[in-house]
């Protein structure tokens, strides 16, 4: 059964049509990626789903429509987005950033348990918990952004370009973590320019080009697809 179902999603900014009517689905427990070149409309699609930009079309999450809901209400229903550029609160401490992730939750016990869990996942964040978010390195900020989203205990985690701007070693570390999170049973939708990485961890993939989805299928199959190989895997 699909947890997220998107039908005819369109996003336009002042005459520029970034997303021109796309359909896709993410099943419960799946790791799905949306790949495509810079400017294909991937981030706009995520922002449209989260209510951060005006969007047309139908987005169903669980068994309810998200039409016209404000972002905070969508988050309260169990969706969390790790935004492009990480969106760390630079003047809040690491611990406060993590508290913000659990903003919608009231179960103190559960929050404490999840805090222990993300600190176990990212020991570096535990070392730096009293430091301001703005003083972390890019990779640490990405860890913090993912950890913060996990603090919401989301039913669906959306990741926007988690590898962007990071050193190769850090990218590998982040992707290990993504695989570990997926193995715990969290449903993930991953948006990536780095198709190689994304296809390796995902079960299914959608390829986006100039605002439309041009291809989709099992990730392993797309990784072998001649068109994808030439356009996105640099072969």
């Amino acid at each position: 059964m699909s947890l997220l179902r998107v039908r005819g999603l369109k996003v336009a900014y002042g005459g520029i049509h970034a997303v021109r009517g796309i359909d896709f689905e993410v099943g419960s427990g799946e790791l799905v990626c949306l790949i495509g070149a810079n400017g294909a409309g991937k981030s706009s699609a995520l922002k449209g789903i989260m209510g951060l930009v005006r969007a047309q079309g139908d987005v169903h999450f669980g068994d309810a429509s998200l039409r016209r809901l404000p972002t905070d209400a969508i988050v309260a229903r169990g969706m969390a987005l790790v935004p492009e550029g990480r969106g760390i609160f630079g003047r809040l401490t690491v611990a406060e950033n993590l508290d913000m992730g659990a903003y919608c939750r009231r179960d103190r016990e559960g929050i404490r348990a999840d805090l222990a869990r993300v600190y176990a996942l990212f020991p570096r964040l535990h070392e730096r918990r009293a430091q301001l978010g703005g003083t972390l390195s890019g990779g640490e900020q990405q860890m913090l952004a993912i950890a913060r989203a996990l603090m919401a205990r989301p039913r669906l985690l959306l990741l926007d370009e988690p590898s962007m701007g990071l050193a190769p070693l850090m990218v590998a570390k982040i992707y290990e973590t993504i695989a570990a999170i997926a193995a715990e049973g969290v449903t993930l939708l991953l948006v990536e320019q780095n198709a190689h990485l994304a296809l390796k961890v995902s079960q299914r993939a959608y390829v986006m080009e100039s605002g439309v989805i041009t291809l989709h299928g099992p990730a392993a199959q797309l990784a072998c697809d001649a068109q994808v190989r030439s356009a996105y895997l640099g072969e």
């Binding site: 905070d72 988050v75 987005l81 969106g87 809040l92 913000m100 913060r148």
Partner: protein, 309 residues
Amino acid sequence: MDILTQQLINGLVLGSIYALVALGYTMVYGILELINFAHGEVTMIGAMVALTVIGLLLGMAPELPGLMVVFSGLLVAIPACMALAFAIEKVAYRPLRRAPRLAPLITAIGVSIILQNVAMLVWGRQYVAFPAILPQGQYEVFGAHITDLQLVIVALSLTTMAGLWLLVERTRLGRAMRATAQSKEVAALMGVNVDRVISATFVIGAAIAAIAGVMVSAYYGLAHYHMGFLLGLKAFAAAVLGGIGNIAGAMLGGLLLGIIEALGAGYIGDLTGGFLGSHYQDVFAFFVLILVLVFRPSGLLGERVANRA
């Protein structure tokens, strides 16, 4: 009498009032990058509402203790100002949230003029006297005088600032306010209802303004429909001095500005050989504002303002 000590005391009292008003400017600026020029008028409305309640109470029960009467006035003025600020934000600023920055700024000036005129219609053009019902004790400290009222003003204002500090640093709402000030979009992604946090910011600032309004009218012994204008401008100067958007900065800036003003007023006569007198007191706030804008636009504790403004 020691002029220096006396003016330091006077400056501290005045400065603690400026600090309270400056907090309202800086909190709203921190979140919306809007200079809420109507904030001075909210302070004035606080004073007027409190004085009305005080007048009614004295009419009904003249034997009540003065301090209790004034606190009752304050307890009505606070929710009145909170409701007013809530309405101003909703009606005048929220529809302009996505408009160019100049639009809400001009709207703020408009709201300020409207409030002044409404106050003039309701309370009249004349000065409203603050009845002499507060304790009038006076004490000697290091050769200077300090009154009961001055002590109450400083104590109440420090308590208010401490309360605000706890709210902002230690509560869920405070954390949401700080997060929203840094990024409305990411705050929303954490599940923060950004509109509600913005409302709360205006409302909290207005509650503090009501306290300041009652203090200033008690201190000068009067209130007037126009009193919020100069007070607001000075508090704004204090917020800029401390670094606008920075809460500790507003507190520091307010206190410093009060002290600068009092010292300036105390010594300007001597310094100019009697050419200028202490009625030039109001000049200093704006002199400081100009110096800060020229030499340290980000203020004493501010950061990154120059590239945002």
